[in-house]
Structures are given as structure tokens and as C-alpha cells.
């Protein structure tokens, strides 16, 4: 069983806001899903999945970047920079 506190912790880790009213239903669904995942305990031991393909590389060649106006038009820009909330 995962507690509401743990769900809250995961929500913080995931940076996903969670309202207090939402916590009980989220925790309930979360536990139901984890109960279902318990079937994985019955998976026979073995190697993890691998694609089997390696060394897919491109040559070091410059290709055109996006026009700056198109980049800045997507967001809140200031002097050519893109604005974000403070991190300090």
C-alpha cells in the first residue's frame, strides 16, 4: 500500500501539482494500479529488453537552424531571450 504522503512525495518529484481534494482518489487509483502491477513479481528472471541494434550515427554536418522569429513567436520573448520564472 502506498500512503497519501508517498503519493504527495511522488507528485513533488514529478512536479505535478496535486490538490488536497484530489489526494484520496489519486491514492486509491494509484494503489489499484500498483496491485495490478504486482503480477510482475511472477515474471521469470531474465535479461531486459534490448533492440540489438547499435552505432546509429550521423555525420558531423551543420544543417540550418530555425529562423529566430519563428522560435521567439512561440513564447514570451525579451531581447531575443525566452522568459521563464525565476530559479534563484
Amino acid at each position: 500500500m502506498v500512503s497519501e504522503e508517498e503519493v504527495l512525495h511522488i507528485a513533488t518529484l514529478a512536479d505535478i501539482g496535486i490538490g488536497t481534494g484530489e489526494l484520496p482518489p489519486f491514492t486509491r487509483d494509484f494503489n489499484a494500479i500498483l496491485d495490478y502491477f504486482a503480477v510482475l513479481d511472477r515474471v521469470p528472471a531474465g535479461e531486459g529488453w534490448k533492440s540489438g541494434i547499435a552505432n546509429v550515427l550521423r555525420e558531423d554536418e551543420v544543417t540550418p537552424s530555425l529562423p529566430r522569429e519563428e522560435v521567439l513567436a512561440l513564447s514570451e520573448a525579451e531581447d531575443g531571450y525566452i522568459r521563464a520564472p525565476r530559479v534563484m
Binding site: I18, G46, L74
Partner: protein, 431 residues
Amino acid sequence: MARGETAGDPLNAFITLAEIPPRGPGRLSGITVAVKDNISTRGVETTCGSRILSGYVPPYDAHVVDLIRNEGALIPGKTNMDEFGMGSSTENSGFGPARNPRDPERVTGGSSGGSAAAVASGMARMALGSDTGGSIRCPAAFCGIVGLKPTYGRVSRYGLVAYANSLEQIGPMAANVSDCSLLMEVISRYDPRDSTMKDRPYLPRLNGDIKGMRIGIPAEFFGKGVDPAVTDRVRKAIGVLEGLGAVSVECAMPSMEYALAAYYVTCTSEASSNLARFDGVRYGPSPDIRKPWHEAFQEMRMQHFGPEVRRRILIGTFALSAGYYGKYYGKAQVARQHVREDYARLFRDVDLLAGPTMPTVAWKIGAKSDPLSMYLADILTVPANLAGVPAVSVPCGSVEGLPVGLQLTGRPFEDEQVMNAAFAYEQAVKA
């Protein structure tokens, strides 16, 4: 909420109706191809069915969009979907549910529900969908059309907004196998920008000859939870294939026991990482610039992501977190390898596997309220994604007026064979 309903789109099949013109004459000239809204279209809003991307107008085209426009296709708009592909009904769209053309009170299936509805209702002749765990085949089955999930690595994902990178493929949807095959032929051109792609273009081979083909019938595809009426339709369809000279072989796929859990652990884990980029800084609705970073970020994700998306981000974050990685994510990758080995073993004996696409027919909108019961509906489609093998859903009659899909699965890079068997069936029942 439902943008489409006001614009001559009663099924809410489209999130954005916008004619994107062709770029040249080609094999798709004069053909309309609707594009799922998680496929990037330059100059036309691409929302993934999410409020967090409303207003996002990409500055670039997905590889498949380039390809279909160059072949002359006209794109009538961007189709409705479960938010980021997270759902099996298209009810989880941030822009209202899509409605099933056969019965508007029922779901289209998902997540490519808008694409299926657009094709089934004749609003588009073909459509592009994407399939992470059944998202092309499920709505194809529910709406009575053909949908192919190609072999992993056969269609470029460049421009497909990622939900679960290691599982998903873009694929074709159409009213019949020939159209579906033509669209697949166009979109399978190699693209070096997708490192997981192989240069193995699809070359259609629709001759309807399946004589001597060995078709495996895994018992698990007809087990608990599968509606007997659906089983009955599918058994009859297999009978048709036998009538065409195919040989059916009963077989078992033991990894089905944990395939669904492995699938959900994998897709939610990848999604929790993929969806971290939606912070509103570079595109999409902007966060509150006056607040500190984490606060602004959390607030905006809470506001703009729907509940199912947040639930899956939570599960995926948990499955990857310290102390749980081995129990969940690590284990799921082992399970995945077992699924792959099951297919490899079966395909040494048979050429195709046949079974139902979905355990039931389309349900009523709002009927499945708890998330787990919705997840369980994917049980028959996810194994193909876990193993990367091709699988098609082709209509095989109906139950109480609602379409049923026959799912045919083949060896990796034998999409042609899968499509040819679907074609053989389709032609046989048409005649």
C-alpha cells in the same frame, strides 16, 4: 470544449479543421488524409488533445506529413485523440470526446479516435494515427475500419509527439485494406532523423493468396474478459481464412499474463519523462512569470494536464524512482523480453497470429469510470507494441450493430504479409 461540433463536425472527430494543401502531384493526389493531432504540422496548431499545447503552432512538419503532402494528399485537419494518446476511448481529450459514427452515444475507441471517426464517417478517405498500445487498432475496430500498427522502426517518428518512444509507431487508417496499404507505402520512406528507424520501405503485395499460410490462434486471446459474441465473430473470420486455404494452429502465449502490466509500467515511465518538457517556457500557454520556478511549473501542469495524464505521470515517476526501479521498470523490461521471445517462438511455427483486436465492442461514453478497467481493455493490443511486431485490425462483422475487429499479427518487417492476409479476408467477405 468540443471545438469541432460547431464547425460541421458533429462527431468531434477534429480538434482543428484546417486545409493543409498538397505540395505536389503523386500517389495521394485528390485524396484527403486526416492527421492525428499528435503529429507535428508546420503552421497548424498541434495540441495532442491537451490544453497544455493549445495555441502551439509548430514551426516544422513531421516526416510523415512531408511525405503525404509531397505525394499530393490534402490534409483536412487534425484529429481528436486522448490527451497525449493516454486512453482507449478518446474520452480523455482536452477538447471533448469524439463520437462513434455507428452510434454517437458510444466511444470511438482510442487514442486515435478522431482519425477513425473521420474515416468511418467519410470526412476523410484516409487518416494517420499512432499506436502505442493499440491506439490505431482499437478505434479501427470500434469504428469498423482498417488500421495498421507497423513494425517498430518502419515509419519515422520524427514529428510524432512522444508518449512512449520505445513502443509507438505512426500508422495508416482507411476504410479498406488497399487504401491502408497505399498510405503505408507512402509513409514508410526512410528518415535518418529517427535513429530507431530502419531503411525497409513497405512494398505492397496485395494478391489475396494465403493458401498454405499457417495461422496461430493463441488461447489467451480468447480467454477471460473477452466478450463471447466478439469471440464468435472472430472465430468465424478465422474460418473464412481457413476457407481460403490457410491452416489454423492452436497455440499459447504465456507472457500475456503480465504483458499488460509490463506495458503500463513502460509507457507511464517513458511518458513521465517525455511530458516534462511541457513547462510553457518555449511554447504553449505561459507559466506565471512572477512565481518561483517549481511553483509556477506545478501550477501550470496541474491546470493544463487532464487527470489521466497526471495519473500516468505519477505512476511513471514512481516506477522509475529510487528503490522502485528494479521492481517496476526493470522488471517490465524483462517481461517485455519474454513477450518478444514468445512471439519469436510462435513465429517459427506459424506465419501469422489471429485473434480479436478488442475484448468488447465500443462502450457507451462515460461507462468506464475507473482507470484500471480502461487499461484492461488494451490487453489484446499491447503485446504487439511490446515486441515491435506489425498488427492490423480489419473489420469482421458486428455485434448488435457495433463493429468487431479481427487482429492479425506478423513477424517483424512482414507488414506486407499481414496486410495481404487482411486483404484476402476483406475480399472474401465482400464477395
